[in-house]
Subunit: 149 residues, 2 copies
């Protein structure tokens, strides 16, 4: 895992997004898309509020970034997301040609690595996992432990 | 493959959606969601017009159906789509718990069956492929052959 200060900086912003989801009683996952050191898209899970299974954090951050750029390819961008993307989001990441994907905690039940037998991303994309993993995982644990009470 | 008159009827509507995409110079794929014999969501590929890689036919039909029902689970619904879903759409289909997935032509490059090592759908979901396959494939062939000219 190649973790650097910039990755930690942007992952903290993704964690802030996850906290917003938590406060809205949504599964607490957050994401940001960064181009040339600037955040051009951000989002958090809103599946409950929007009654829409496709309203994952990554989908919203990707759509927002493409909207900002006025083009659908994010091939000079990095996506930061607090939890390993599911295959829906992994598919969207692949279509968008995102250059770099950085995630925090693994998702051993629904993460893309549990489904895919070949990479769903662009062949040149780089994947970094485990950035601020403990912080990202703790928000999820706290949320589901509260739900079970 | 279990093909019946109802499947052919609704696949024809999905093909009409694909033709709309074709006319708008979008990759010609169409989808409808049916509940108790009624269409409650429909869509066609709009990735170019919306500058959004997530704007696939299935995503729009699923979102429209959930919006119509006021709930995000489509567990008594059937999705008809002219071409085998990609993994992004397969993931969305799984999250939505769609009961039945009927598609026309295979997608040997980007179809979910080329990626997934286990089913991305709800364990109880039924998948039917090859309904009006030739008609669905012909629209795609015609589109890409025109593009190459």
């Amino acid at each position: 895992m190649i973790e650097n200060d910039e990755d930690r900086h942007f992952m903290k912003v993704a964690i802030d997004e996850a906290r917003r989801a938590y406060e809205e009683d949504e599964v607490p996952i957050g994401a940001v898309v960064v181009s040339k050191g600037r955040i051009i898209g951000r989002g958090h899970n809103l599946t409950e509020k929007l009654n829409d299974v496709t309203a994952h954090a990554e989908m919203q951050a990707i759509t927002a970034a493409a909207n900002y750029l006025g083009g659908k390819y994010l091939d000079d961008c990095t996506l930061y997301v607090t939890v390993e993307p599911c295959i829906m989001c992994a598919g969207a990441i692949g279509w968008s040609q995102l250059k770099r994907i950085v995630y925090g905690a693994p998702d051993t039940k629904r993460g893309f690595t549990t489904f895919t037998s070949r990479t769903p991303f662009h062949p040149k994309s780089v994947v970094v996992s485990g950035v601020m993993e403990e912080e990202c995982a703790e928000i999820m644990r706290s949320f589901f432990s509260r739900k079970r009470k």
